[in-house]
Symmetry: C2
Amino acid sequence: MPVPLVLEQMNESIEKLIAGIASGDRRSLSKAISAVENENELAAELMSKLSSKTNSYRIGITGPPGTGKSTLTSNIADVLSKDKGVGILAIDPSSVRSGGALLGDRVRMTKLTLAKNVYIRSMAGRGALGGIASGCDDVCALYEAFGFDYTIVETIGVGQDEVEIRDVADTVVLVLNPAAGDGVQTLKGGVLEIADIIVVNKADLSGADAIAGLLEESLHLRSRPGKWQVPVLKSVATKDDGTAQIVEQIARHREFVTTNEGAREIAKTRLQARILKKASTDLVRRALSISGTFEKLETLAGEVALKSKSLRDAAKEFEAILWDARRS
Amino acid sequence: MPVPLVLEQMNESIEKLIAGIASGDRRSLSKAISAVENENELAAELMSKLSSKTNSYRIGITGPPGTGKSTLTSNIADVLSKDKGVGILAIDPSSVRSGGALLGDRVRMTKLTLAKNVYIRSMAGRGALGGIASGCDDVCALYEAFGFDYTIVETIGVGQDEVEIRDVADTVVLVLNPAAGDGVQTLKGGVLEIADIIVVNKADLSGADAIAGLLEESLHLRSRPGKWQVPVLKSVATKDDGTAQIVEQIARHREFVTTNEGAREIAKTRLQARILKKASTDLVRRALSISGTFEKLETLAGEVALKSKSLRDAAKEFEAILWDARRS
């Protein structure tokens, strides 16, 4: 009967990990995050037994590739870590899909990894069914068990869902650049809606004032009484210029979302969406795990490929199969 | 008893729409796409009764904002429409979220809307649960009922899931720019993995050869015998330079995916993922529609907000509620 023994060992190592995290052991924290990233059995057990020391504030840093997000994240963490603990989570799809980013954000951040109050970890992006949110919630919970006061979530590169960062972060900082000629195009795609604070980084390049002015104008048109007015800041992250103002605006926004009734309602709705998303993913996974279900999906896909059935009809049939899966 | 009458009227208008689409009436096509976009009752009925005239080939155009995707799309459609029908679908999240793009891709494309063999339509992005894929499949099916030989799907702006375009398109064209200094950063994030063809647009700007060389080098390292070798092309879309080469490479890639065994397997897997995604969304929607379910989600979110329950535990409880939903 090897099963109880394995379970016992697993529980022992979970207790050890939890104790390690609570006592501030970085190696335990690192092991726990790896477990979460691999979504193994241990992770589920671990997360359900974890208790938080802090209720850390979540800052999201997002924007197009190459705008200087990593340097900005590093600067902000530098300031915050003077009297608080900061956990950084870099969502980096390339770390799995292409075996590592081509150029080194991670290299630039090494000064942080040596800092006492800062922990930095990158995690691969989305799975087949889940998004970034689920892993992100787990890592934030681990950071809270460790005792960090801030979690900074940074998304890296294209192919990310910037909309998802909106769901996990309390304050979202959108980083843009004064890209001469293309300035206005950067504003396309509803991206402004996700921002609580906009930073025009590389503000020493020409066009910075123009794009900042354009952004302010556009945001002004949408401003409403009683709602948060998105500030547009300028920075030169490589020279650590403008960091203090960014940190100040994050604090201002934090004050706003914790006291404003409308903002609190929005936060509640986001929490519902996150619970629903994780529950949905698990629900589908459970239905799929029932024997024969996947084979039916393969058959339906074959019919769609041969055009003998529309994708919509195939999906409808498969939904009914998933719905009835419990019966069998 | 008003219900049968309404149903009868609805069926009549569906028959009319379908006949209109089959006869090449653009107004019917437009109405049908609107129905799909709004996901109304009529849409579900309409889609299940539709029959395809063509099996249109799907080309995806993606890349960071401001790289010239719309102009390239317009150029490619110009060439293809000389002897074939082309339906364009621009996925544009801003058209709902911010009430329209700030600058006019649509304006740039007006010459196309006058062309006889081209139809262009933009659609807002993702819903709360679904992604872009579901609406995209429906519009492609409508284009096939109309008789188009090509569907070009263009994603616009940041906040898009470039990974999703990979699921719906047969050939994905990734558009990049020679952004001086940031060239290499553009390659981050596993974005190369989704491309079948890479176009360095605005190749008259300095740095074009450097980035093209770097891309080729990076792609060469990953090339495998028997697999598709991603070509790197240069273009100046505003001058219609390089369009012929792009169209040629699309045709080459089409030939490859229809004859190569490995490529056909990948296409089948993608189809399964799309069916699964749509079915999952519908499954969750059905479970949520059962009375009392949503109230339970609200209660759980309240507990998580007060930190009396972890998000993971709340999701686990809610998954069980969704799973058992049929019982009540």
